[in-house]
Amino acid sequence: MTFVAKPRTRHPLLPLNELDLTRRDYEGAVSTLCAGCGHDSVSAAIVQACAELSLPPHRFAKLSGIGCSSKTPSYFLDKSHGFNSVHGRMPSVATGANLANRALYCIGVSGDGDSASIGLGQFAHIVRRRINMLYIVDNNGTYGLTKGQFSATNDRGSTSKRGVPNLYEPIDLASMALQIGASFVGRSFSGDKRQLVPLIKAGLMHPGMAFLDVISPCVAFNNHNGSTKSFQYVREHSAKLMEADYIAPSAEITADYEAGAAEDVNMPDGSTLRLRKVEASYDVHDRIGALAHVQRCQEQGEVLTGLLYVDPDAADCHDVLGTVETPLNALAEADLCPGSRELDRLNESFR
């Protein structure tokens, strides 16, 4: 079926951002996911974050693999181009897209099957390559689109809808990202907008690879009592590290934080990432400490959420490769082709 485009009349009550746009200008097609699917909440959080940051809604490249989660890029930012690629290979497509045009914001959305199973290799290597993007995994511990098989992030002992226990150890993508050198690692929960939206903003503004593991329950296959990725389980077992409020250089977007427990992280674009620490001792710049903390929580059956690690001075792939500021796709022919006289010289070198 083909969806009819929603009328774009501006709601008088919706607030305008700095570009005189409302949140509606950042939305996408109507979702075809199950009602209540966590993934839709993540899309909504992306819409809110981009609108609040006043980013131009057509200047994104949206990439995904295959899965329910990977369908979501068509449900946000419909003024931008999106690419639903092949299962587990979003990272390579995102790498190419970012190499071609470094001036676009790059958002990749993937699933836990997409990134932790078939695409685990690509996940690891894009992190190593430091592509400047926001990489979100909608993590539901299951293969939603193929109807409920266990995924590799599913906890051992967790049961499927049919009551069968998972026999294997889980892969924790956030820990992996920390280990391989991601310069921004966060974890959140689709149902916790207050934490998720600022993390998305911070990830978008981060000048390198920003990875977000978002626990996003599958209401169709993985939201029952035996599941460790259900709404109820995560609500009861999440250990909140801190909340991150992203503050743009001009005006503060959220003023809703408790005084005394805040830490400002300066972002390279001059803006500030404000962290609200639940634990005063936590150091967001300590990669090894973050790893240990994530693992300790895991041991205690807790899901550590929040901004786990950030290196505000991160370099991205273009810095590493030393590419020009002009997007490669915008270079003129004169920049690209050395011309016939140079070729004569080259021919001479082959004589």
């Binding site: 079926m1 083909t2 969806f3 097609a29 075809t32 131009p56 809604p57 057509h58 994104f60 490249a61 990439l63 890029p73 068509s74 419909d78 003024k79 931008s80 181009h81 999106g82 690419f83 639903n84 690629s85 092949v86 290979r89 390579s92 497509v93 995102a94 790498t95 190419g96 897209a97 190499l99 071609a100 045009n101 001036a103 676009l104 290799g121 690509q122 290597h125 792939c317 273009h318 490769l321 030393g322 590419t323 020009v324 500021e325 490669l328 796709n329 915008a330 270079l331 022919e333 920049d335 690209l336 082709c337 050395p338 011309g339 016939s340 070729l343 080259l346 021919n347 082959f350 004589r351």
Partner: protein, 608 residues
């Protein structure tokens, strides 16, 4: 003595990793610089050190540069392969070897001529350094060959001086080793032998280059900005050539920043994914790989076909499978590449025959991919890609402009009422595309496989699917008019021969040999797939067409029969697939065998 000039095959039998490659390369280059056409063929093992390796040079003033059976001069530097090396010599051939240790009597052949030189012993007294003693064996035989074959000595010494420019301490010992060999050959051996080199100008302005270097340069000239690849012989040197030349020619003078990006990916899946992502986002991008890589890229190639993304891929073919004979040449990926992936997919293929064509087709492939919005695969092979051969000089017309195909910019989008990514506006099956970030409110669309309508809206409607597939068929028909045309030489004969890629190298020689046996064939060299009308017309005009394939299954013949719905009986398959490049003798023999078996008339030309 029956002296012949500029017409022989010399083979060097060495041990891999012994430093012979550079001496052998200098040998070929020296002859080239004397104006003599040469083609070098490196026959090497999948090994870094220790296994046998051969380097063969065909020297031929007439320009017959395909492989020829039989060796005239064998430089046998590997005792382990003496037996087969001696057996490879033609009767009357010369066996050059290091007689510091005597040749086993059992290997002696009475119909060949032995040239023994105590290379190891000579080096023992002249050099103390162990590494030099071993490395300079190659230089000593090069010096000896200069006397035996009459190569101008200062051409060789000039090359040594150039190669080690700035490292003067290396020049002197190298020249000394060269002189050691040359002196000995002049003083104690019957120099020169019957096969001799003589200065000529048969090379004109031509160059000596390998196909991968030329293809890398072609990609650079063609405006590629993103290269993603995963190492695999024999394609590696293409990506490396692109990067090397881009580092010199594509760097901003002021900022020293690069106008290109090269990513050595984690595997071929990633390499093609990067290419597709970059091309989707408007950069010209390519990858270089070989058969095993194409297998891994198949899923993505299908996506690019259906999602209509320009992607350029160089398949430098080798013998299969992944752990088969990876360092031997073949044309065995044709079917795999043409129909790579699942669903109804077909891909545009280009078949270069010479280094010049590797350059031309690299740039052409980038244009075609953009024009057709689909993957284009350049089908080279190990023989063409990795070996030096004489080629027309590379040429670029400064008036030429890149064909970026149908891409709408912001102004163009403003001028149209409603953008439909997959509308066939021009009737050629090719829609207009837009690049991410172009326009604030128009032209954005979501790229997915096939579940879409003309406006890129999601649909699984059967009619919409079929309409889309039919449009892709129209696009395929357009492609047949855009790929490089076949090269035809037709004298109205009844029979013809169809070939592609490196089978072109021995073709003239093979046809000349056949002519002597009263067989005259029209010829067609196919350069692109889908086949243009001229290919089918050629087959139609001839009662019988030999189809030359360097693979076991006659893959080109299968493609022709399948795509053109042709009568298979008319297409006589001529195949060679032992891992070396096909020789003129092989083509000659197989055609003649067919004539004899079918008792077909052979008419010898009378007089001259």
């Amino acid at each position: 003595m029956n002296v012949t000039y500029n017409d022989f095959v010399i083979r060097f039998a060495n041990v891999n990793g012994s430093g012979s490659a550079s001496a052998n390369g200098m040998f070929a280059k020296a002859l080239f610089r004397m104006g003599v056409p040469v083609a070098a063929r490196n026959i090497f093992p999948s090994n870094i050190q220790g296994l046998p390796t051969w380097f063969e040079v065909r020297v031929n003033e007439q320009g017959y540069l395909g492989r020829r059976e039989g060796v005239d001069v064998m430089v046998a530097m590997n005792a382990e392969t003496y037996a087969e090396d001696i057996a490879a010599l033609k009767p009357g051939g010369y066996l050059f070897h290091d007689n510091s240790k005597p040749l086993p009597a059992s290997l002696k052949r009475s119909d060949i001529r032995e040239i023994g030189m105590p290379i190891a012993t000579l080096l023992l007294t002249e050099f103390t350094d162990l590494k030099q003693r071993s490395l300079f064996k190659n230089i000593v035989y090069l010096g000896a060959l200069s006397a035996l074959l009459n190569i101008e000595f200062d051409v060789i010494t000039g090359m040594v001086a150039k190669q080690y420019k700035g490292k003067d301490d290396l020049i002197q010992p190298n020249i000394h080793a060269l002189e050691l060999g040359r002196r000995y050959a002049l003083d104690y051996l019957d120099s020169p032998i019957e096969h001799q080199v003589r200065r000529t100008d048969a090379n004109g302005d031509r160059i000596l280059i390998d196909g991968n270097t030329a293809a890398g340069l072609g990609a650079l000239y063609g405006g590629a900005t993103v290269c993603a690849w995963y190492p695999i012989t024999p394609s590696t040197s293409m990506a490396e050539a692109f990067e090397r030349y881009a580092n010199g020619l594509r760097v901003d003078r002021k900022t020293e920043r690069r106008k290109f990006a090269v990513i050595q990916a984690e595997d071929e899946l990633s390499a093609i994914g990067i290419v597709i992502g970059a091309a989707w986002n408007g950069a010209r991008a390519f990858t270089a790989t070989s058969g095993p890589g194409v297998s891994l890229m198949s899923e993505f190639l299908g996506l690019a076909y259906f999602a209509e993304i320009p992607a350029v891929l160089f398949d430098i073919q080798r013998a299969g499978p992944s752990t088969g004979m990876p360092t031997r040449t073949q044309q065995s990926d044709l079917l795999g590449a043409a129909y790579a992936s699942h669903g109804d997919t077909r891909h545009v293929l280009l078949f270069p025959s010479t280094p010049k064509e590797c350059f031309d087709f690299a740039a052409e492939a980038l244009d075609l991919a953009d024009r057709l919005q689909t993957p284009v695969i350049v089908m080279s092979d190990l023989d063409l890609g990795m070996n030096d051969s004489v080629s027309e000089p590379l040429a670029w017309d400064d008036a030429r402009r890149y064909d970026r195909g149908k891409v709408l910019d912001a102004a163009a989008l403003d001028g149209i009422e409603r953008f439909g990514r997959y509308l066939d506006v021009d009737g050629d099956g090719i829609g207009y595309r837009t690049l991410p970030g172009t326009h604030p409110s128009k032209g954005a669309f979501f790229t997915r496989g096939t579940s879409r309508d003309e406006f890129a809206a999601y649909t699984e409607n059967p009619d919409a699917y079929q309409r889309n597939m039919e449009r892709l068929q129209r696009k395929w028909a357009t492609a047949a008019t855009l790929v490089p045309e076949a090269e035809i030489q037709s004298d109205g004969r009844k029979a013809g021969i169809l070939y592609y890629g490196t089978s072109a190298a021995p073709m003239q020689e093979a046809l000349d040999l056949l002519r002597e046996d009263g067989v005259r064939l029209d010829r067609i060299r196919v350069r692109g797939f889908p086949f243009g009308a001229e290919v089918y017309e050629f087959i139609d005009r001839h009662a019988m067409v030999f189809v030359v394939d360097q693979n076991r299954d006659g893959q080109m013949r299968t493609l022709l029969v399948n795509e053109g719905d042709l009568n298979p009986a008319k297409l006589i398959s001529l195949r060679y697939y032992a891992g070396l490049s096909i020789s003129a003798d092989e083509i000659h023999r197989q055609v003649l065998d067919h004539y004899k078996a079918q008792k077909l008339p052979r008419l010898k030309e009378v007089g001259a």
